[in-house]
């Protein structure tokens, strides 16, 4: 009897895989119950992430059968990935554009307008001359705030381009600019750390 049951439960097992695939096939927005948009309510996203983890985390499945533990681990892994992706503007934009069939090539420099490049050069020059200025600490902070403001402008622009105008190709080039600015900001903040 056990053997024949086993045969039937293998059929059931297939439907387990199907159910699992259904869960894992959700995109990050669906998984976290968020509208499919670049603009995000960060506090709400964070609450959704924590509620999801509170439901699927392997700690909730201690001593459950191995299949369930595996399922819990896969879902908790995916929840972490979803949170990391959606909480970061660059990753969120790349992911959303990818869902729309647009690949963002981070190495491409095409579509960088002269104005953007000029601004980068001017920031870079300021950054490199900070050591020679009379008050390097406040010059550093001024530059940092300026770059943060520049980043925030790009993020706001992306909300308009992706969610409202749906100009995906233009958005892709803005995302590359945003990557560029984020990397520069990291450099600035790393220097700040060393001084602190």
């Amino acid at each position: 009897m056990l053997e024949s049951l086993r045969g039937r439960s293998l059929a059931l097992r297939l439907s387990f895989e199907t159910a699992l695939m259904h869960l894992l096939r959700k995109n990050y927005f669906e998984l976290l119950g968020q509208p499919l948009a670049f603009r995000i309510d960060r506090a709400q996203l964070e609450r959704a992430f924590r509620d999801l983890q509170a439901t699927v985390h392997p700690d909730r499945f201690v001593k459950h059968p191995p299949g369930e533990r595996r399922l819990a681990m896969q879902l908790a892994t995916m929840a972490n990935e979803a949170w990391q992706c959606l909480s970061d503007p660059v990753q969120r934009a790349v992911y959303l554009l990818q869902l729309r069939g647009i690949a963002v090539d981070p190495t491409s420099r095409s579509g960088f307008e002269p104005g953007f490049l000029m601004q980068q050069m001017s920031w870079r020059e300021t950054f490199e001359s900070i050591g020679c200025l009379p008050d390097p600490r406040s010059a550093h902070e001024t530059l940092r705030q300026e770059v943060v403001a520049g980043r925030d402008r790009l993020v706001a622009e992306l909300e308009q381009l992706i969610d409202i105008d749906r100009l995906d190709d233009l958005a892709a080039s803005r995302v590359r600019q945003l990557m560029f600015v984020e990397r520069f900001l990291e450099q600035i903040e790393a220097i700040g750390d060393d001084e602190g």
């Binding site: 059931l12 201690v62 972490n80």
Partner: protein, 634 residues
């Protein structure tokens, strides 16, 4: 407990269903076991009323051993066969062990270092298992029943090899591990910081042999470890050693400018290994008395019956150890920087570990943060108390809504060796667990049919500067031109921080995978042998025990399945329902018999048959979790 147990809010298991869960602080110097009784976490004492079990194992001639106070008493007369601070050797090779200045004879062995004792060469896992067994029987005696499981704490800085070794030790000791928990996190739980609304908590843990700093972010019942730092070779023992080195120089047993006075004195024969242990014990006493008074006398009678008496002031002690304190504070600063947290922003600072009783440490920490750290709970007990609370939670003894979820991070980056001995980082440190990452590689030679995969852990760019975790080979790649093969290597790290790696060649589908048995770990055969040895010694009736375990497991599974059917039976079609009903009946019938293997088989089949039901329930639970949130907000 089997199927998704989604209990209704406010429902908790009936008192008679409470499961006996314990928290274990497996410390370098002392170990403790605690449990939650009548809602309060308390340390379980042994029959003599001791809470702390010295983490000491002494081996005798008959192949047996003693653990704890009795063993510690032998550390002076028989230092070579008395293993203290074994935690420092967990998951470590002989080179690491030799650097640590100990009286032991180390034996190089494939995997972890072995320590030569009169009853044979012992792996650190076996030695730790003896400590765990002692704690387990203490707990079973005090609680009067079979243990459901344990939460065991590890330093946040422990790498994969050290975590594996700790889990292996529990396995050998016959303890089911519910979760490995970072020590600082356990301390935060003990202070009830989960009840605090929001904020960042810094945990400063200076134990006997390890130092950890963690920055935890608490919000809405979730503990997130946002940064960890530490030094796995800094602890209270180092302060004792400074005192011994000072004493050796003062007495002329070592030269005034000697860089390694302990080795010199041992090598020249001016002190014996027994003298060294006696001096270490006295150094610890002197250090402890200097937390209360400004002056003490370092007094030891050496084996040559020379009496050493040296006055030691707290100022002198602080000067001898100033660089150790500075080292800990610089690690603290670095960790705060990793967390992007300025000292003023920390909501609370928690002190853990007996060594944080030292006034110089408290002063330096208070100075950095501009506030006094929390120290209301005994710093020796706080970790075990928190672990017991987490064990109680994982055992399902707390009602839903009155619980918390702990999200951990991986302390050190994981990567692969690539051309030129460079590390390609796959999972960056401080990623929230569990996590999975995959990366594609290719072959570099014409017609290459195999690829060696070397997994390392650490932050440095060169493989030689990182810890080697595992090596394995992907074979049977069809011959292709260089660069044509596409090899996808996937890492999966579970909630305990343990790693599994798999590799697949994408065009041919050739696959290889391993659950990482680290280079410094033990093979499954070795663990099986240790288990067998311990069974043989305990003289257990294995079959009877196995039968009982399987029957309990079957009962759990049956009850959980029935509860799930009552709650969400409508998710099943009639046909699916009848299969599960039949499996339930079969499991009940088998469990009434006496064949443990048959019961295990029946449980497995029942588990398999209910998996898709479980997945559907999970889907529904997720939908409810997110929907509930939205309703909340309107």
């Amino acid at each position: 407990m089997a199927l998704l147990q989604i209990s209704e809010p406010g429902m908790s298991p009936e008192p008679h269903q409470r499961r006996l869960a314990i928290g274990i602080d497996l410390g370098t110097t002392n170990s403790l076991v605690a449990t939650v009784r009548s809602g309060a976490s308390e340390v379980i004492e042994d029959e003599q009323g001791h809470a702390l079990l010295p983490s000491v194992v002494a081996y005798d001639n008959e192949g047996g051993c003693v653990v704890g106070h009795e063993a510690a008493a032998r550390s002076v007369s028989d230092p070579v066969n008395t293993i203290v601070s074994v935690k420092r050797f967990m998951g470590r090779g002989i080179e690491d062990a030799k650097r640590l200045q100990t009286p032991y004879q180390f034996v190089d062995a494939p995997g972890m270092v072995r320590i030569r004792t009169r009853s044979g060469d012992k792996s650190p896992v076996e030695v730790s298992a003896e400590i765990l067994k002692s704690l387990r029987s203490r707990a079973e005696r005090a609680l009067g029943g079979e243990l459901y499981g344990a939460v065991i704490t590890v330093p946040a800085y422990f790498d994969d090899a050290q975590r594996q070794a700790t889990r292996d030790a529990a396995r050998v000791a016959g303890i089911e591990v519910l979760r490995l928990l970072n020590e600082p996190t356990a301390a935060a739980i003990a202070y009830g910081l989960d009840a605090a609304a929001e904020g960042d908590v810094v945990v400063f843990d200076l134990g006997g042999g390890t130092f950890d700093v963690s920055v935890l972010r608490l919000s809405r019942g979730v503990f997130e470890v946002i940064a960890t730092g530490g030094d796995s070779a800094l602890g209270g023992d180092d302060f004792d050693r400074r005192v011994v080195e000072w004493a050796l120089r003062e007495t002329g047993a070592a030269e005034a400018g000697a860089e390694r006075p302990i080795q010199d004195a041992l090598a020249s024969g001016s002190i014996s290994p027994g003298d060294l242990r006696a001096m270490m014990v006295e150094a610890r006493r002197a250090k402890e008395s200097l937390t209360q008074q400004a002056l003490t006398t370092f007094t030891v009678r050496l084996s040559g019956s020379t009496l050493v008496r040296l006055p030691l002031s707290v100022e002198r002690f602080d000067a001898l150890t100033a660089d150790l304190v500075a080292r800990s504070i610089s690690v603290l600063r670095r960790t705060l920087r990793d967390a992007r947290l300025s000292p003023g922003e920390a909501q609370a600072v928690v002190l853990v570990g007996g060594a944080t009783r030292m006034p110089s440490i408290r002063r330096s920490v208070a100075q950095l943060f501009g506030r006094d750290p929390l120290s209301g709970i005994d710093p020796d007990r706080v970790v075990a108390l928190g672990a017991a609370m987490q064990a109680n939670l994982l055992a399902g003894n707390r009602p839903e809504g009155d619980d918390w979820l702990l999200l951990d991070v991986i302390p050190l980056s994981l990567g692969l060796e690539t051309m030129g001995g460079l590390v390609e980082r796959i999972i960056p440190r401080n990623s929230t667990l569990p996590i999975a990452r995959a990366q594609e590689f290719t072959t570099f030679r014409e017609g290459q049919t195999a690829l060696a995969i070397h997994v390392v852990q650490g932050e440095r760019d060169l493989v030689t500067d990182c810890r080697s975790l595992a090596r394995f080979e992907l074979r049977g790649i069809p011959p292709m031109s260089a660069g044509a093969a596409r090899i996808r290597v996937s890492f999966q790290v579970d909630a305990d921080g343990l790693l599994a790696v798999s590799a697949t060649e994408l065009s041919s589908g050739v696959a290889a995978s391993i659950t990482v048995r680290p280079s410094y770990g033990l093979s499954d055969e070795e663990i099986a042998q240790m288990l067998q040895d311990s069974f043989a010694q305990a003289g257990d009736d294995r079959r009877l025990r196995a039968l009982r375990e399987q029957q309990v497991e079957a009962q759990r599974m049956i009850e959980a399945t029935q509860a799930a059917l009552i709650a969400d039976g409508e998710l099943l079609s009639e046909g699916e329902r009848s299969v599960i009903d039949a499996l339930l009946a079969k499991t009940e019938q088998t469990a009434a018999g006496t064949d443990p293997d048959a019961i295990r088989h029946a449980i497995e089949v029942l588990a398999l048959g209910t998996e898709s039901f479980a997945a559907r329930r999970m889907d529904q639970a997720i939908a409810r979790a997110l929907a509930g949130r939205r309703v909340d907000e309107i």
